[in-house]
């Protein structure tokens, strides 16, 4: 099956600063890809390039189209939610639905109205009268009613409380996601979505430092709790990070045989956040 996103040698400079440095990755259909990196690593630049919001060097195709030249065509098949505050404050809910219905060929108005009817959002209200959570629900209702092939989420739940956040992702998975569609998401609350992800991309200083499926990440990385007597043996295996827990050492290993590790102590699957911290401190 064809790739939804194909990036080859993607670069972007602001003066002397390289925001993106020769980035390569592909996103296939039916994947939920987490794009993770510290602030200023280049995540937003990658998303902006995909969405046709910025110019770039290198090859980037979205559904076979070039985003810097065909933004409005790509947007028929790509949906986008950024930090939720971007719905204009003066927009009335029913007008927002009418607008998207008129300009978007793949929008299903009934579906949007069905999502909204499950919320407390009044149709005659302006966006500025809604709570932040309601604005997020409205935006999500609009986006989920679009028959898109790629959904790009940039910190979509920033500033929302935990109930909304859980709901947001649950709704996405049950009502939007299927094997024909892909989701590309960036967030700082990585622990909330790590169970949803199928693929993981780490970005640091404009470069990709990890790009793998969740399955091979969980096979590749292992955390071992080691007693004092085996610490030296563990260190010999080049752990990528170590920390102290209740007087014992916990080591994170990359690409070390399970059988070897089992001899050292108790093996855990590390969280994405742990791997992230380790990879960021490495090099």
């Amino acid at each position: 099956m064809s790739a939804l996103i194909e990036a080859k040698g993607l670069s972007k400079s602001y003066g002397n600063h390289k925001a993106l440095d020769n980035v390569n990755f592909t996103v296939k259909r039916g994947r939920v890809v987490g794009l993770v990196g510290p602030n200023g690593a280049g995540k937003t630049t990658i998303l902006n390039a995909i969405l046709g919001l910025t110019s770039f060097d290198g090859d980037l195709t979205i559904l076979g189209l070039k985003p810097d030249q065909n933004r409005h065509q790509i947007m028929q098949k790509v949906s986008f939610i950024s930090d939720v505050a971007i719905l204009p404050k003066w927009l009335v809910v029913e007008n927002a639905i009418e607008y998207v219905n008129q300009v978007h060929p793949n929008f299903n108005k009934e579906k949007a109205l069905r999502f909204l009817s499950k919320t407390k959002i009044p149709m005659k209200a302006k966006v500025k009268a809604l709570s932040k959570g309601m604005v997020a629900q409205l935006h999500l209702a609009l986006v989920m009613a679009i028959d898109a092939e790629l959904l790009v989420l940039d910190e979509p739940t920033l500033g929302l409380d935990i109930l909304y956040r859980k709901n947001f992702y649950n709704q996405l998975l049950s009502d939007f996601f299927n094997e024909e569609r892909s989701i590309l998401v960036t967030t700082h609350q990585i622990e909330e979505i790590e169970n949803l992800l199928t693929d993981l991309i780490f970005v640091k200083d404009g470069k990709i430092i990890l790009n793998d499926s969740m399955q091979s990440v969980s096979e590749n990385y292992a955390e071992v709790m080691v007693g004092k007597e085996r610490v030296e043996a563990a260190k010999a295996l080049n752990p990528i990070i170590e920390r102290d827990v209740f007087g014992r050492k916990v080591f994170l290993f990359e690409g070390v045989d399970r059988e070897v590790l089992e001899a050292l102590g108790e093996i855990h699957s590390p969280s994405v956040a742990d791997i992230f911290v380790a990879k960021m401190e490495e090099v």
């Binding site: 046709g52 933004r71 947007m75 971007i86 009418e98 998207v100 008129q102 300009v103």
Partner: protein, 305 residues
């Protein structure tokens, strides 16, 4: 066509205060003042001149009007109708100025541009919809309000005629109301189009201003004017801009000018259909096209203020 309709609707939703409520409130205030004026007219006349009151005077006025020739009656009624445009078109030009300065700046300021750009609408269509708003949607909306006010005025005059002892049919017969409406609408639209290079320049400035869009729009004009005065000791550039503005006002009120048969403007006045035959009009449209192309490009690359 369908796409343009929804984009214009969008502009109307965002700016209905300036596009519709402003003239509507103006019209309501004028209408109210006319009512109050006629009710209290007796008081004024009595305090200033004890000989007779407004109510006494009204029948004489009505008689006087009916004694006029048909041509003079027409002129009188139509002058009153066309005269209303003077008040509205000044306000219309002012709100259009602010509309253009904000139309591509505000969306970047509140970051809603990311929402608009997440829709399959090209930058070209977006920018053209802003231009169409100022050249067509705004004058049409003002025209609707003006027409409502004109009809109110006709009814008002008719009632006065009744009180003065006439049926008032002459007022309606001499109004040529549909002609007045059509000429008024076309004068407003052609006046706005005459100013199209100015609107397009403001839209362009709005697309790239990082702060106060007004400054970004005004500075180059001021600098060019100063530079011209310094190098050539002339001021053609600013005169040309001022002339454009004056012409716009004259075109919008050309109906008034040609109904009075008197020189009410100091400059040569074109009827709305004469604008088409003027080369400056077409040059202006070409210049507007260049600025709009600039705005389209800038909108495609700039997402922040």
């Amino acid at each position: 066509m369908n796409a343009l309709t929804i984009l214009l609707k969008r502009e109307y939703w965002e700016h209905k205060g300036a596009i519709f409520y402003t003239p509507a409130i103006m019209a309501a205030v004028f209408a109210g003042l006319m009512l109050i004026g006629s009710f209290s007219a007796d008081e004024f006349v009595v305090t200033h001149n004890n000989e007779y009151t407004f109510s006494d005077h009204l029948p004489k006025l009505v008689d006087k009007f009916e004694e006029l020739s048909g041509r003079e009656q027409k002129q009188g009624v139509q002058l009153a109708l066309y005269g209303t445009l003077v008040f509205f078109c000044g306000v219309m030009l002012l709100i259009s100025l602010f509309y253009c300065l904000g139309c591509l700046y505000d969306e970047r300021k509140d970051r809603s541009i990311l929402f608009w750009k997440s829709m399959p609408v090209s930058d070209t269509k977006t920018v053209l919809s802003k231009f169409a708003t100022v050249c067509f949607l705004i004058p049409i909306s003002y025209f609707v309000v003006i027409t409502a006010f004109q009809i109110y005025m006709m009814i008002f005059l008719t009632v006065l005629a009744w009180i003065g002892g006439s049926w008032g049919t002459m007022i309606w017969a001499s109004s040529n109301l549909f002609g007045v409406m059509f000429n008024g609408l076309m004068a407003l639209i052609m006046g706005m189009l005459w100013l199209s290079p100015f609107w397009a320049w403001l839209i362009f400035a709005s697309s790239w201003a990082k702060k106060v869009a007004f400054m970004w729009a005004a500075l180059p004009i001021i600098m060019l004017t100063i530079a011209e005065g310094w190098i050539f000791k002339t001021n053609y550039f600013i005169e040309m801009i001022a002339m454009r503005g004056a012409n716009t006002f004259a075109i919008m009120n050309s109906n008034l000018h040609f109904t009075t048969h008197k020189e009410i403007f100091d400059i040569e006045v074109m009827r709305w259909y004469e604008v088409f035959g003027n080369s400056e009009f077409w040059i202006g449209l070409i210049v507007a096209g260049v600025f709009l192309a600039g705005a389209i490009y800038t909108r495609s690359v700039r997402n922040e203020t």
